[in-house]
């Protein structure tokens, strides 16, 4: 039986490369590998064109071609009789494919080499299944994303009022409703993407950073496109699997991004508000082909809801909370804790262990200083925002999100200093130690 084009979805994941065969007017054939074939609609496919000079010349003379597709799960092969229709050098389809190719080539160490020149669009006239002698199956199929399940996640996010609860509802909802067990939320802060929520990893990695345009997550941010890779190369997985240690963290003053050492599939979804990327929702799996087009659509919906909810929570908190800091207590009690604050990058160390840096580090030191000098144990977001000594950005401070990542970092590392959410726009500091503050200049 001839399959419909849409039934070949596993062939469009780029796991096993496709090929295109063309012929010149004199019958001289040509066959070339393709980095990506994409389904456009029920009758059309798009082929990415990076190095296909001869293919392009042949199509100008003879628009008939044959494409060999391979199913990434079963290895079943299909021959498509196609006819060249047009090419695209810009537009939504082009941008999406260009970002996908950029990410894919970066993962195999060919960043910048496999740049998309254009997409050739073909009408599919026939589909033949290449005869097969064995039936091949991958691991048992994962639960598919249903609209009802997505609605439950979106609804759970919608009832949350603070950033922490929104992040938790999103990541837990992905596992409970969509069977996505390993996920991260990163938010854009000062041109870095910072992990503010993680789910399913032994080390949470709160506060870990990704540079814009770096790796799958960074490219999703830069391009504002969903990036989906369903077969990670072993070389890439190895490079990802190099484990960090506490010593490395203390030396590098950077927190390792959580990751599955045996991930085969990853997806990074930009979190958009008003057309601007605010962060990235990332998920991964040790299964091949874990994320299909339906999963992508589900994650886009969830990421959109989470992005809007975080934005709203930040905006509401900005106008909320008292400007004063009413509660105070006698500082001290418990064993001494050497707190070193490096002004050069606002990094903080507790007894030599790296805690955090940047604005979150500045905020932590400020609160510790207030606690030690004035016994202040309760802070309002508004007061923090108005205090010019903190040098917070004037526009879009992400204060709520920064405090969330600080609070979770302290919890994750089980430091004797913790932050407690006391209500919307208010938090308390809980010191089970006697902080001994020192500032290191330069």
């Amino acid at each position: 039986m001839t399959p419909a084009l849409r039934e070949l979805s596993a062939c469009f994941e780029g796991i096993i490369p496709a090929l295109v065969a063309t012929a010149a007017a004199d019958g001289t054939p040509n066959v070339s590998y393709l980095s990506q074939v994409t389904l456009i609609d029920d009758d059309h496919i798009g082929l990415t064109n990076q190095f296909l000079t001869k293919t392009s010349a042949n199509l100008a003379e003879n628009p008939q071609a044959t494409v060999l597709l391979v199913d990434g799960c079963t290895c079943a092969q299909y021959l498509l009789g196609v006819r060249y229709v047009r090419y695209e050098e810009s537009g939504a389809l082009f941008e999406r494919m260009a970002a996908q190719i950029e990410a894919g080539s970066a993962l195999v160490g060919m960043a910048g080499i496999m740049r998309l020149r254009r997409i050739d669009v073909f009408r599919v006239d026939s589909i033949e299944t290449v005869p097969f002698t064995v039936s091949l199956t991958d691991a048992p199929p994962r639960r598919r994303a249903s609209l009802e399940a997505v609605a439950r996640v979106v609804q759970a996010i919608g009832v949350q009022a603070d950033v922490g609860s929104i992040v938790d509802a999103t990541l837990r909802g992905l596992e409970a409703e969509l069977d996505i067990g390993h996920s991260l939320i990163l938010q854009l802060m000062h041109e870095r993407l910072v992990t503010v929520g993680s789910h399913g990893y032994p080390a949470g990695g709160i506060g870990s950073e990704v540079a814009v345009a770096e790796g799958l997550i960074g490219i999703a941010d830069k391009s504002a496109q969903v990036i989906r890779i369903n077969e990670l190369s072993r070389a890439f997985r190895f490079s990802q699997a190099v484990s960090g240690s506490a010593d490395d963290e203390n030396r590098s003053r950077s927190i390792r991004l959580p990751g599955l050492p045996d991930a085969l599939s990853q997806i990074a979804v930009p979190m958009l508000v008003h057309g601007q990327v605010q962060g990235v929702l990332f998920a991964e799996s040790a299964r091949r082909m874990a994320f299909d087009r339906d999963d992508e659509a589900a994650l886009v919906l969830v990421a959109s809801q989470a992005a809007a909810a975080i934005w709203l929570a930040e905006s509401l908190v900005a106008d909320d909370g008292a400007a004063t800091t009413p509660a105070s207590a006698q500082a001290g009690g418990g064993p001494g804790l050497k707190v070193q604050y490096y002004r050069v990058d606002d990094s903080i160390f507790f007894d030599g262990d790296y805690v955090i840096k940047g604005i979150a580090g500045r905020l932590l030191y400020y609160m510790l200083e207030q606690y030690v000098t004035a016994g202040t144990v309760e802070f309002s977001n508004r007061a923090l925002r108005l205090d010019t000594s903190l040098r917070l950005p004037e526009f879009k401070t992400n204060l709520e999100t920064r405090l969330l990542l600080l609070r979770r970092r302290l919890d994750e590392k089980q430091f004797p200093v913790r932050l407690i959410q006391l209500g919307r726009g208010r938090l308390g500091i809980d010191c089970r130690c006697t902080p001994e503050l020192s500032v290191i200049e330069g």
């Binding site: 001289t28 066959v31 190095f51 044959t66 009789g81 195999v108 060919m110 033949e128 005869p131």
Partner: protein, 156 residues
């Protein structure tokens, strides 16, 4: 056309895809299942299953132009060999054995880098194979990069 380096490459676990075009018909594709590379001339014998690739096999005939793309998936090194069919015949026992060894070796390599599921047995061989002798007239680089599409220079 074929120097020692290219001969060594062709004898490795490379993916082999041939293409042949008929008058007024779309070009057809078939996968090779083993190559025999001559040492003394620019000729390659390609084993192909008639059962799996009837469209391409129907167009194979003496003197017909043929393109063969070969790729090492671990390194992305790839070449396209173009020429004409010199001879077409049924595969004998030795050639079928060669094809089985190729399938085993390449399948293991693909599984080792995660391209095929481990132990999938994704490819099989039917005893109906043809052997296509290709006289190579030109070799083009298909490795991604600046040289892609250019004629490969013979190495001394």
């Amino acid at each position: 056309m074929l120097d020692d380096r290219l001969r060594r490459f062709l004898r490795g676990p490379v993916m082999q895809v041939l293409c042949v075009a008929g008058a007024g018909a779309p070009p057809r594709i078939g996968r090779g299942m083993g190559l025999i590379v001559a040492d003394d001339r620019d000729r390659i014998d390609i084993v192909i299953s008639r059962w799996q690739w009837p469209g391409a096999c129907a167009l194979l005939a003496d003197g017909v132009p043929l393109a063969l793309t070969v790729c090492e998936v671990r390194t992305y090194e790839a070449y396209q060999l173009k020429g004409r069919i010199a001879l077409l015949r049924m595969a004998d026992g030795d050639q079928l054995d060669l094809a089985r060894r190729y399938i085993d070796e390449t399948g293991r390599m693909l599984a080792s880098i995660g391209v095929l599921p481990e132990g999938s047995g994704a490819w099989t061989m039917q005893p109906d194979a043809l052997v296509v002798s290709l006289d190579v007239h030109a070799v083009f680089v298909q490795t991604p990069g600046d040289s892609a599409g250019k004629a490969r220079q013979v190495q001394p």
